[in-house]
């Protein structure tokens, strides 16, 4: 039974996401639409499951939602800061820097979310991963104190992600 | 024609103009380069701006009909960015 369930729903979260996507696509929140969306949400991940062999074992949706809200807020704040830099700071006064972030995360999915967060938050871009995946290379637009940026990222995002991807 | 409508249409004009100008800036960056990365970046920016134009068009015409176009650009635009970058990095984009 569990195997059947696993086979049918290789990614339950994905099924949910797809159902939501379907409803937003149709822009029609009716029961029929939801059912249809869920059916697609089962079929499509089933078709693509072969390409996602080692899915994360667990995933905390609630914490993830809170994380998304946090990130969105950070994005807005940082955007204003960066916009200010873009408009006012001359090239000569910029202090761009490479920052290496040692990773405690080891799931590709988690690292990717972290890297994505870093990129989406203005002022920093995730640029590369080391060959073992233990270090993340990021570039900061204006970082007078690179270590502060590194620590900020580790405690603000990575620690949360560790709880989301157990 | 209330002031709100006036405000909205002015805002639309300003937004259109802003997007158009930023397109032209991106185009300039694309042409002057100097690196391939800059050009890819400029292209990527332009693709994103195009989504903005389409959205603005939808607002100004009061229609949702262009939504899919914008969505497809948002969804697939990055594929070409990745393809260009992969070409530079690896030569073969599907290996």
């Amino acid at each position: 039974m569990k195997r059947l369930f696993n086979w049918l729903l290789p990614h339950p979260v994905m099924t949910l996401i797809l159902a939501i996507v379907w409803i937003s696509l149709q822009n029609n929140l009716s029961f029929g639409m939801a059912v249809f969306g869920l059916i697609l949400g089962v079929i499509i991940p089933r078709l693509t499951a072969v390409w996602w062999p080692d899915r994360p074992k667990s995933f905390k949706i609630g914490k993830m939602t809170a994380y998304v809200v946090l990130v969105l807020w950070d994005i807005i704040v940082a955007n204003v800061e960066v916009a200010w830099i873009v408009l006012t700071r001359p090239n000569s006064k910029l202090r761009p820097a490479w920052i290496i972030i040692p990773l405690d995360l080891c799931q590709p999915e988690a690292i990717t979310v972290l890297a994505g967060t870093i990129t989406l938050t203005p002022g920093t871009v995730s640029s590369d991963v080391s060959n073992t995946g233990h270090y993340l290379l990021i570039h900061a637009l204006d970082a007078p104190d690179p270590d502060a940026v590194r620590d900020d990222i580790k405690q603000r995002y990575e620690s949360r992600l560790k709880e989301i991807f157990v | 024609m209330t002031f709100a409508d006036d405000f909205l249409s002015w805002a639309l004009v300003i937004a259109f103009t802003a997007v158009a100008i930023s397109q032209i800036f991106a185009m300039i960056r694309l042409l002057i380069g100097p690196g391939t990365a800059d050009r890819i970046l400029a292209l990527d920016t332009m693709v994103v701006n195009v989504i903005g134009v389409i959205v603005l068009l939808g607002i100004s015409q009061g229609t949702q009909i262009y939504f899919e176009v914008a969505m497809i650009i948002a969804m697939l635009g990055f594929v070409s960015t990745v393809a260009y970058a992969r070409f530079v990095l690896r030569g073969d984009i599907i290996e």
Binding site: A83, P96, I100, P122, S130, L137 | L41, L56
Partner: protein, 126 residues
């Protein structure tokens, strides 16, 4: 001042925010003098700009029509794909050395971009 009027103002404000951020992104793209620095401006500021425009659009649909969440989907796609684009463009910069070289990671590791295949050599006879 009714809801529609408020909505109209909201749309206008979102539009102006979007306009500003879009423009700022492009300005950054044009004016910064370092390839990696340039990467910051459009990929994020631009995203914010388009995000605001999308918000404007969504608000507009609620104010003037039946309302839709389509724009959220577009925003989601943009936010999900933007990091990959940025990641690849950084890699191109690192690979082409069009930016300040990144420091090596500790413990003798290498950045994945600078790994080389033994057989891949530049040949002139092609």
């Amino acid at each position: 001042m009714n809801w529609i009027e408020i909505g109209t103002y909201a749309v206008g404000v979102f539009l102006l925010i979007g306009a500003i951020f879009t423009l700022v992104g492009a300005i950054g793209l044009l004016r910064f003098n370092d390839a990696m620095t340039r990467l910051h401006a459009p990929t994020k500021v631009g995203t914010m700009g388009i995000g605001a425009l999308l918000l404007a659009s969504m608000t507009a649909t609620f104010v003037f029509g039946e309302g839709s969440f389509h724009e959220l989907l577009i925003m989601a796609f943009l936010f999900v794909t933007a990091p990959i684009s940025a990641n690849f463009i950084s890699k191109v910069n690192i690979h082409h050395k069009t930016c300040m070289a990144p420091p090596d990671p500790p413990e003798g590791e290498r950045w994945s971009t600078s790994l080389k295949e033994e057989n891949d050599q530049v040949t002139t006879d092609m």
